[in-house]
């Protein structure tokens, strides 16, 4: 079923058309631009739903499109979706319209903002659907430019610093990916095709050269670890989050963080199965540090957004732990956690944005007793907080439980220490909830208005998904289960 539908191409490039149209419209018509941008994310959402419906989990790679792009280097415009990318694509097309709604408050340089945002969406969709290594790399770097400007121009007080730091970290990582890509291309007689690359590497001289493979895997790991972010490279995330506008924080935490783990699962693991096993313990240790260190740092934060940023670092630690375990539960748990973390953190950042629009500051101790006259808002925050600390009945719990079930047989001690993460997470989340919502009402915010209709429209779908996946996780598990089994098969059997 070569290219029977151009679904993926349309989904990826529709926002780009939107971006061009936004650029053309005169910048005076601010609301019209916002509506135009919103309208141009809907077709991708519709195609995303269509993709979910059409996708048959057992059939592996689908919606494949393959067109030669640079014949000399036999680079192809080769895109397709399998169990791993379908949930991520759906998450992207779901969050983007919500984020556009969330950025209704942007009023300076509106045209630039929404054009860059739509370009960013194309970049993200491209990364998740690319099956050609070069195409993956182009989309991977294409995302950097809009993100740099979105944080740099519309961000908070220290936006330049945060934007350049984000740009430098990611670029530093991705150049190693570039070297790895070229070396693989050279050693396999010239091929960028991710799907077939594994056999080609195995048969090529590279297959036996363990040292070179080790360096290549390390290069790739560094590139993706910066994006996750894994322990030593995580310092850019709190700054980027604190300075980025609300909608960009949602995209950054909801989707961009997943690209790190997606990259490892899509590229690093299948290409170098033996290395994946060798590095497993290392990644597990880093995961453990992420979980515990992230949680403890979160507890020390006074800025709400920085707290959510560190909590993201902690939650992504679970994904890494599940990934490193290479057991069925671990892998399924990891991918489910990627999706769940996307929806939960998106909700958290939207909620932080709502309170920031009203109180114009994010200092946790500055609030108090908001639950009194902000019932809807405190209800949503309560749901989001409990989902992120892994309360059963909500999606966060299922993925955390699976990760622990999967990682326990392989890394017993690490999992036991990781379990302490659950308690620390519960501690800092509830403590934050108490300082902001419980206790006597802070008279300064006595007259804060509750969630507006627009804000509720943003939050309801996410809340619905969090509860739905908490009660019926098989809806999404069945999608990526066969693909993940296949991946484990490849990695463990080598």
């Amino acid at each position: 079923m070569e290219s029977q539908t151009h679904l993926l191409t349309w989904m990826t490039f529709f926002p780009l058309i939107g971006a061009v149209l936004v650029l053309i419209t005169p910048s005076r018509a601010k609301t019209f631009i916002k509506q135009l941008a919103f309208v141009f994310t809907l077709p991708s959402l519709a195609l995303g739903v269509q993709m979910l419906r059409l996708y048959d989990p057992a059939a592996g790679l689908q919606f494949v499109e393959r067109v030669s792009w640079i014949s000399y280097f036999n680079i192809e415009y080769y895109i397709g979706a399998d169990g791993l990318s379908v949930p991520m694509l759906f998450l992207t097309v779901l969050l983007c319209p919500i984020c556009i709604l969330a950025s209704w408050g942007i009023n300076d340089r509106v045209k630039g903002y929404f054009a860059l945002f739509l370009l960013l969406e194309t970049g993200m969709l491209g990364v998740f659907s690319a099956l050609d290594f070069f195409l993956f790399y182009v989309f991977w770097e294409l995302m950097l430019l809009p993100m740099y400007f979105l944080i740099g121009i519309w961000g908070g007080p220290r936006r330049e610093y945060a934007a350049i730091k984000f740009f430098l970290y990611t670029l530093f990582g991705s150049v190693f990916l570039l070297i790895a890509m070229i070396v693989i291309y050279l050693n396999t007689g010239g091929s960028f095709d991710l799907v077939a690359l594994r056999e080609q590497i195995a048969s090529s001289p590279l297959g036996s050269a363990a040292r070179v493979q080790w360096w290549l895997f390390l290069g790739m790991y560094v590139a993706f670890a910066i994006k996750i972010p894994a322990f030593p490279f995580h310092t850019w995330l709190p700054d980027a989050h604190v300075e980025a506008p609300t909608a960009i924080s949602v995209i950054l935490a909801g989707i961009l963080l997943k690209m790190g783990t997606y990259g490892i699962l899509r590229i690093a693991y299948p290409l170098f199965p033996e290395m994946a096993q060798q590095f497993a313990l290392f990644i597990a240790i880093i995961a453990l540090i992420n979980i515990v260190y992230g949680a403890l740092c979160a507890m020390a934060q006074t800025d709400l957004k920085k707290l959510v940023a560190y909590s993201s670092i902690s939650h992504m630690g679970y994904v890494m732990l599940g990934m490193a375990a290479l057991t069925p539960e671990g892998m399924n748990g990891a991918v489910l956690q990627m999706f769940n973390h996307g929806t939960i953190t998106a909700m958290l950042f939207l909620l932080v944005g709502v309170i920031y629009d009203r109180a114009h500051h994010r200092n946790i101790d500055g609030f108090g007793g908001l639950a009194k006259n902000l019932p809807i808002y405190s209800g949503f925050t309560c749901l989001a907080f409990f989902a992120s600390l892994g309360l059963p009945g909500l999606s966060g719990f299922i993925s955390e439980a699976l990760v622990f079930l999967g990682a326990f047989p392989v890394f017993m001690v690490i999992t036991i220490i990781g379990l302490s993460g659950i308690v620390i997470t519960a501690a800092y989340i509830l403590w934050t909830y108490q300082r902001v919502f419980l206790g006597p009402l802070n008279e300064k915010y006595a007259e804060l208005p509750d969630c507006s209709i627009r804000e509720q429209v943003m939050l309801y779908p996410l809340a619905f998904i969090v509860i739905l996946l908490g009660v019926f996780p098989h809806l999404i598990l069945q999608i990526f289960q066969p693909t993940m089994m296949q991946l484990i098969e490849i990695v463990t059997k080598g």
Partner: protein, 493 residues
């Protein structure tokens, strides 16, 4: 091939010579009526004609010309096209800008056309004497052009430094050539190489000394590290159009000479590239590789504290010379392809950047980065083009710069020079910061005083679009450019 028959392969240079004469006459006869300025326009038209004529060269077979003193091959044809295109753009810049005094425009065009002829001869020369002659022709023209700017003070200082530094370097190179002549007795590359190949291993130290001295002359042209000191001052002092011309065209000449001279004289073709001659068993490729690494790093680090844009782009030019040297040091045909590909990309990127600086500095009166603050409000198109050029200089995907660097790293990694690739890659990350500072100034910072709007003529807008479009187009559809670069990489021994 006799002199008369060779003329058939010499059409672009002939057109250029005719243009020189025409411009001289126009300058003498008329000066310029309001708005219409014959000498500069004739020069531009001449360049366009020569450029179109140069396309006929690709189909002709590669043969020595004028009894072996010049040679015609795809490599030479490419560089001719390259230089003529640069000259055309520079003349267009001069027409559009007010930097060169109106009454001097005629003389400027004459000189730049002579320099262009000199460059075409350098790319095609196959004889020691011919190299020295064409190099001198080109250099003398450049020294004078460097002094044409209205900015009294820095302009004179720039040309003085340029003439002194150039003179010494060319002198040292000449001494090297004389040693080479002494060693081999012949002046044509063919004779020199066969003599060197035949000679015993005793000549090895002298040969390397000669090679090094010629390298001094070429290194100065290319702005390689130990010989790059002139570049920042001259780039800052010279008129922006000349700076652009120097940074692209004369750097291109340097590489043409580097590849033509060193690969023909000290190497014989081996499979997939070149190998050093039997008796000279020193590996000068490694030396060039080390120098390229140093050049990149010094260029990138040097650019950090700069506040003047042209000076910053000078250091960036040094860094990009480092990247190009990576390709040369490999001594493989892929390396040469990568260098050619990168040069084309570098041409469009640098010309766009310098053109924007030209337009903006004229209306804002400053070349400092601070002057660019809040540019996006005054001139959104110029700001976008500048951003495109800067991201291409860094080497980010949608732009041609990325593909150029990709091709270079592909060539480097093919030879398994992992250390060089890593240094090159880290350098491009390092370079991001000072390019991004300009973008930050343009977009992220807001200018305090209400700066005058940047007004530019529609012609300037057209040129900018012509320059910037390929940076994006080749970033996405770069298959034809690869084919062209592969074709042009054929050097005839």
């Amino acid at each position: 091939m006799g002199n008369i028959e060779s003329l058939a392969y010499f059409i672009p240079e002939l057109i250029l010579t005719a243009t020189v004469l025409a411009v001289l006459f126009a300058d003498v006869l008329g000066g310029e009526r309001e708005g219409f300025d014959p000498p500069a326009n004739f020069a531009f038209v001449g360049c366009v004609a020569a450029f179109l004529a140069h396309f006929t060269l690709y189909s002709l077979p590669s043969t020595p010309l004028f009894n072996g003193i010049l040679i015609h091959d795809p490599f030479g044809a490419f560089f001719k096209g390259f230089f003529i295109f640069c000259t055309g753009v520079t003349t267009a810049m001069v027409i559009v800008s007010r930097e060169v005094a109106r009454f001097k425009k005629g003389e400027f065009c004459v000189i730049i056309l002579c320099v262009c002829i000199g460059m075409c001869l350098v790319a095609a020369s196959r004889d020691l004497l011919m190299i020295y002659l064409s190099l001198e022709l080109m250099s003398l023209g450049s020294y004078v052009m460097a002094g044409f700017s209205r900015k009294i003070g820095p302009s004179e200082e720039a040309s003085l430094k340029f003439v002194l530094y150039g003179g010494v370097s060319t002198g040292i190179m000449l001494f090297g050539i004389s040693l080479l002549y002494g060693l081999t007795g012949g002046t044509s590359f063919e004779a020199v190489r066969s003599a060197l190949a035949g000679a015993g291993s005793g000549i090895e130290p002298i040969a390397f000394l000669a090679l090094l001295m010629v390298l001094v002359g070429v290194g100065y042209k290319v702005a390689m590290v130990p010989f790059h000191f002139w570049a920042p001052d001259v780039y800052e002092g010279a008129p922006t159009a000349v700076t652009a011309f120097l940074s692209v065209a004369s750097k291109g000449t340097g590489f043409a000479l580097l590849i033509r001279f060193f690969f023909s004289v000290f190497m014989q073709p081996a499979e997939g590239g070149w190998a050093t001659l039997a008796p000279l068993h020193f590996d000068w490729g490694l030396t060039i590789a080390v120098l390229s690494a140093i050049t990149m790093t010094v260029g990138n680090i040097g650019a950090y504290p700069q506040t003047n844009l042209k000076r910053l782009l000078a250091y960036s030019g040094v860094a990009h010379a480092g990247y190009l040297l990576m390709g040369v040091s490999l001594m493989t045909s892929t390396g040469v392809e990568a260098v050619i590909f990168y040069l084309v990309m570098y041409l469009f990127t640098n010309m766009t950047a310098f053109f924007v600086i030209l337009v903006v500095s004229e209306s804002l009166g400053t070349e400092r980065i601070a002057g660019f603050r809040g540019l996006w409000r005054g001139a959104p198109v110029a700001a976008f083009m500048m951003t495109l050029a800067l991201f291409s200089l860094v080497g980010l995907p949608p732009t041609a710069g990325f593909v150029g660097k990709l091709y270079l790293f592909y060539a480097v990694l093919q030879q398994k020079l992992y250390w060089l690739a890593v240094i090159g890659v880290l350098n491009s990350v390092l370079s991001l910061y000072y390019y991004a500072r300009i973008i930050k100034a343009m977009y992220l910072e807001t200018s305090s005083e209400t700066e005058p709007a940047v007004h530019s003529s529609p012609l300037a807008g057209l040129i900018l679009i012509v320059m910037a479009a390929p940076v994006l187009y080749f970033g996405v559809f770069w298959n034809p450019l690869v084919e062209y670069a592969r074709y042009c990489a054929h050097l005839m021994q």
